[in-house]
C-alpha cells in the first residue's frame, strides 16, 4: 500500500467510524434507520473509496478516482446532519456537505475514462449540480441556519452560522434542491448519451461503472423530487428506503470499477501471454492481429514512427489517414514520444482509460514490434540504396561501352584505314614502317574491343543472359556452361546475374569453371564450381541489392561451390 493510498483511505475510514457512532447515538435522526441499513451504507462508502483508490492507481491524471473517493466520504458525511453529531465540526460538515455525494458521483461518471468534462453541456450540468446541492442547499443554507433557534436544542453548534433566517433557509433549500435536481437530470441524460455513443468495445468497458451510476443518480433524483414536494431534506420512511437502495447502487458502482479493473487485467494477461509467445517466432503484423481481436476491430492497423514518417509492421512506408468519421486515429504515447498509432473504427478508443490500458499492456510488444519494423525499414532502405548503386553501375557500364564503341573503336578503325591508304602509296622502307603501325593499331583495336565487351557485352541487352554467357565462354575458354535459362528475364536481373558470373569466373588460373544457371520456383539460381575461390565483394553487393542469397561451400572434390539465389521479379 502506498502512502497516497493510506492517505486516501484513512479519512474515509475515520468518517465511517464517526458515522457509525453518530447513527448509533441518535438512530431516530439517522438516515439509515436500522443496523442493516447502516451496514449497507458503510459498506457502500468503503467499497467506493476502495474503487476510487484503484482508479487513482491506474493513472494520476484520472479525475474520477479522487471524485469517487470524495463521493465515498460525502456519502458517509450525510449522516452527520444529526443532533447526535459528536460536535460542531462534525455537525457543520453534515449540514454543509450532506447532499454533495450525488454531485461528485455525477461528475465522476462523466469524466470516468476520459479524464475531463468533454462538452459545455456537461460542464454546465455539473456546475449546476454543485451550485444547487453544495452551494445553495448546502453551505449557503448552513450560513443562515441556526438549528438551536429553529427548535433543535440538542443539536451541536453550526460553525458556519452567521445569521439566523429561517425563511432564507427554506428558500435556499428549495431552490438549491430544484437547481441540483434539474442539473442532475441533465447529467443523467449525458451519462446515458455517453453510453449510447460509445463503440461496442468501449461500451463493454465503461458500462459496468456507468449503468449502476445511472441507477444511483436516478434514485437520487427521485429522492430529491420527493424532498422538494415537502420543501426540505428529511428522513421519513420513503427517504430511508431510498437511501438504502441508493447505497446498494453506489456499492454496485464500486463493484463495476472492480470488474472493469479485472477485465483490463484479463486483457493485459492475454496480451502479455501472446507477447511471450511472439518473442519466440516473430511475424510482422502479429501484434496487430492480437490487438484487433482484443479490441474486437478486425480493421485495426498499427503504424510505427520511422525517421519522420510512418511504417507498418513489415517496414513498408505508410501514411496514416487523417482522423475522420470513417477512421479513428489514436496515438500511443510512451515516455512522451509516440510509440505507435492505431488506426481503428471511429470511437473505438474514445475511452482514455482504454488507450492507457492498451499502451500499458502492449508496451513491451509494441516496443518489440516497432524495433523490428524499424529494422526492416532500415534493411529495406539499405537494399534500395544497394539496388540504386548497382543500377547506376550497370547504366554507367552501358554508357562506357557505347562511348568506347562510338569513340575509340571508330577512331582506331579510321586510323587503321588511313594507314592502309598511306601504305598503298608508300614505297619500300616507309611501307614497312606503316605495316608495323598498322599492326599496332590492329592490336589496339583488339584490346579496346575486349575492354568494351568486358565493360558491357552487347548481347546482354539485345539477346539476353543465356546469349551473353555464351559469348562470355567465347572470350573465356575456361568457362564451361551447363544449363542456362530459356527466354528473357528482367533486364536488371539479367545484368546482375551476368556480372555475378563474370566476377565468379575471373580467376588467374586456367582451371575450368563450371557455370549453371536455372530457375527454381521463383528464384534464379546460379551455381559456380571452380578450383580456386573468387573475390566475392562484387557478388555480395549485387546479391544484396536484389535481396538474394549467397552460399559458399566446398564440394567433396575440393572445389569451391558458390550458389547464388536471386528472386525473379
Amino acid at each position: 500500500m502506498t502512502r497516497r493510498t493510506i492517505l486516501t483511505l484513512l479519512p474515509v475510514l475515520s468518517a465511517a467510524a464517526i458515522t457509525v457512532v453518530v447513527a448509533r447515538r441518535q438512530p431516530e435522526w439517522a438516515l439509515a434507520d436500522s443496523t442493516g441499513a447502516l451496514s449497507v451504507e458503510i459498506a457502500a462508502g468503503l467499497a467506493l473509496v476502495v474503487a476510487g483508490t484503484v482508479v487513482m492507481s491506474r493513472g494520476p491524471d484520472s479525475l474520477s478516482g479522487p471524485l469517487l473517493c470524495s463521493a465515498a466520504a460525502a456519502w458517509l458525511i450525510a449522516e452527520w446532519d444529526n443532533p447526535g453529531a459528536l460536535g460542531g465540526i462534525v455537525f457543520t460538515l453534515g449540514i454543509g456537505l450532506g447532499l454533495v455525494a450525488a454531485a461528485l458521483v455525477a461528475h465522476a461518471l462523466l469524466v470516468h475514462g476520459v479524464g475531463r468534462l468533454g462538452t459545455t453541456a456537461a460542464r454546465v450540468a455539473i456546475g449546476g449540480v454543485y451550485a444547487g446541492l453544495a452551494g445553495l442547499a448546502g453551505i449557503g443554507s448552513a450560513l443562515v441556519n441556526d438549528p438551536g433557534a429553529s427548535g433543535c436544542s440538542s443539536c451541536p453548534p453550526n460553525l458556519l452560522h452567521v445569521a439566523d433566517a429561517p425563511d432564507a433557509v427554506a428558500w435556499l433549500d428549495r431552490w438549491g434542491l430544484r437547481l441540483g435536481t434539474v442539473s442532475l437530470m441533465v447529467a443523467v441524460v449525458l451519462v446515458i448519451w455517453r453510453l449510447w455513443r460509445a463503440s461496442p468495445a468501449a461500451r463493454r468497458t465503461i458500462a459496468p461503472v456507468l449503468l449502476p451510476g445511472v441507477v444511483f443518480l436516478g434514485l437520487v433524483v427521485v429522492h430529491q423530487v420527493h424532498d422538494l414536494r415537502r420543501g426540505w431534506v428529511g428522513n421519513d420512511q420513503l427517504d430511508d428506503s431510498l437511501r438504502l437502495v441508493e447505497s446498494v447502487a453506489l456499492f454496485a458502482v464500486a463493484l463495476g470499477v472492480g470488474w472493469q479493473r479485472l477485465a483490463a487485467r484479463r486483457m493485459r494477461g492475454r496480451l502479455a501471454g501472446l507477447v511471450v509467445e511472439m518473442t519466440g517466432a516473430v511475424r510482422p503484423g502479429g501484434l496487430r492481429n492480437l490487438i484487433a481481436s482484443a479490441l474486437d476491430d478486425p480493421t485495426l492497423e498499427l503504424l510505427y514512427p520511422f525517421e519522420g514518417g510512418w511504417i507498418d509492421p513489415a517496414g513498408r512506408e505508410r501514411t496514416p489517414p487523417p482522423a475522420s468519421e470513417m477512421r479513428g486515429v489514436t496515438s500511443l504515447v510512451q515516455d512522451e514520444a509516440v510509440a505507435a498509432v492505431v488506426i481503428h473504427r471511429p470511437g473505438l478508443l474514445d475511452d482514455a482509460g482504454l488507450i492507457e490500458e492498451l499502451g500499458r499492456a502492449a508496451r513491451l510488444a509494441i516496443d518489440h514490434e516497432r524495433l523490428q519494423a524499424q529494422q526492416r525499414a532500415q534493411l529495406e532502405r539499405l537494399r534500395a540504396a544497394r539496388t540504386a548503386i548497382v543500377a547506376a553501375t550497370d547504366a554507367e557500364r552501358r554508357r562506357l561501352e557505347r562511348d568506347l564503341h562510338d569513340g575509340a573503336q571508330q577512331a582506331l578503325a579510321g586510323l587503321a584505314m588511313a594507314i592502309g591508304v598511306a601504305r598503298g602509296l608508300a614505297r619500300d622502307h616507309d611501307a614497312e614502317r606503316l605495316a608495323l603501325a598498322q599492326n599496332h593499331v590492329r592490336e589496339a583495336l583488339g584490346g579496346v574491343r575486349a575492354l568494351a565487351h568486358a565493360t558491357y557485352p552487347a548481347a546482354l541487352d539485345e539477346a539476353g543472359l543465356a546469349a551473353a554467357l555464351d559469348v562470355l565462354s567465347d572470350w573465356q575458354p575456361n568457362v564451361e556452361l551447363g544449363a542456362l535459362p530459356v527466354g528473357r528475364l528482367d533486364p536488371a536481373l539479367e545484368a546482375s546475374t551476368y556480372f555475378i558470373v563474370t566476377a565468379l569466373t575471373r580467376t588467374d588460373s586456367d582451371a575450368m569453371v563450371d557455370v549453371h544457371v536455372h530457375s527454381e520456383q521463383s528464384n534464379l539460381v546460379v551455381d559456380v564450381r571452380c578450383a580456386t575461390a573468387a573475390d566475392l565483394t562484387e557478388v555480395e553487393d549485387r546479391v544484396g541489392a536484389l535481396d538474394g542469397r549467397l552460399a559458399v561451400d566446398e564440394t567433396p572434390a575440393g572445389e569451391t561451390h558458390v550458389r547464388v539465389e536471386l528472386p525473379c521479379v
Partner: protein, 218 residues
C-alpha cells in the same frame, strides 16, 4: 562493280568510299542510317551494300536488320556487314536465313583493302564470307560437336578457310596442298556434312553455315 555504303561515322564512311573508288569500285551512294541505306539500295540496285550495325537513331542493331531486309527484298543485292563486334551471334543472325551473298567482317579489315575487295567480290559471286578472327575463335572453341565431329582436323582447317572466304587457290597456298588433294578434302567435307549436289558456290555456303551452326551461336 557497284556498291553503296552506310555508316554514321563520317570519317569512316567517306574514307571507305574513297578507298573503294581508288580500288576500282563504283560507289553509287553513301548513307548515314538504315532508312537511307534502304532507299539507296532500292534506287541504285548495287551489287553489294556495305553497312555498319549500330547506327542512329537507336544505336542497337538497325544495320543488321536493314541487311536482312535487303537480302529478303532484293535477292540480287549482296550485303557486307562491318562491325566492331566479335560475336558469332551477329554473323549467325545475318547468314542464318539467307546465307548467300552475305558477309560479316570486323571493321579492322578496312585497313587491308585487299581482303575487303576480295570479300566484296566473293559476296557478289554468291558466297558467304565470315571474318577470319571469328572463324578462328569458332575453330578454337571446344564446342565443335555435331556434324563437325566427323571431320578430320585437316578437313576442319579447310572448312574454316572456306568460311573466311578464301578461294580454292588461296586455301591451297595457305595449307601447301595440291589442288587435287584440296578437291578431295572438299568432297569429303560435303559428303560428311551431307551436302547434296548443287552449284559449287552454293555447296560452299551450306558448308560454312553448318560450320557456324555447329561451332558458333546456338
Amino acid at each position: 562493280m557497284r556498291v553503296v555504303l552506310a555508316d554514321d561515322e563520317a570519317l569512316l564512311r567517306e574514307g571507305l568510299a574513297r578507298l573503294l573508288m581508288e580500288a576500282g569500285f563504283e560507289v553509287s551512294g553513301t548513307a548515314q542510317d538504315a532508312p537511307g541505306l534502304l532507299r539507296l539500295v532500292e534506287a541504285r540496285r548495287p551489287d553489294v551494300a556495305i553497312t555498319d550495325i549500330k547506327m542512329p537513331p537507336s544505336h542497337t542493331d538497325e544495320g543488321l536488320i536493314a541487311a536482312q531486309e535487303i537480302r529478303r527484298g532484293f535477292p540480287e543485292v549482296g550485303v557486307l556487314v562491318l562491325s566492331h563486334y566479335l560475336e558469332s551471334r551477329y554473323a549467325m543472325s545475318l547468314v542464318e536465313e539467307l546465307p548467300e551473298r552475305s558477309g560479316y567482317l570486323l571493321k579492322d579489315r578496312v585497313s587491308e583493302i585487299g581482303s575487303l575487295t576480295d570479300a566484296l567480290r566473293r559476296i557478289r559471286d554468291g558466297e558467304c564470307v565470315i571474318d577470319p578472327t571469328i572463324v578462328q575463335r569458332l575453330v578454337g572453341h571446344r564446342r565443335n560437336a555435331g556434324p563437325l565431329a566427323e571431320l578430320t582436323p585437316r578437313e576442319r582447317e579447310v572448312l574454316a578457310l572456306m568460311a573466311e572466304g578464301h578461294s580454292n587457290q588461296g586455301i591451297c597456298e595457305q595449307l601447301f596442298l595440291s589442288p587435287k588433294t584440296l578437291e578431295g578434302h572438299i568432297g569429303n567435307i560435303f559428303r560428311k556434312l551431307d551436302i547434296g549436289e548443287a552449284p559449287a558456290y552454293h555447296r560452299r555456303v551450306i558448308a560454312v553455315l553448318t560450320f557456324l551452326r555447329a561451332g558458333g551461336a546456338k
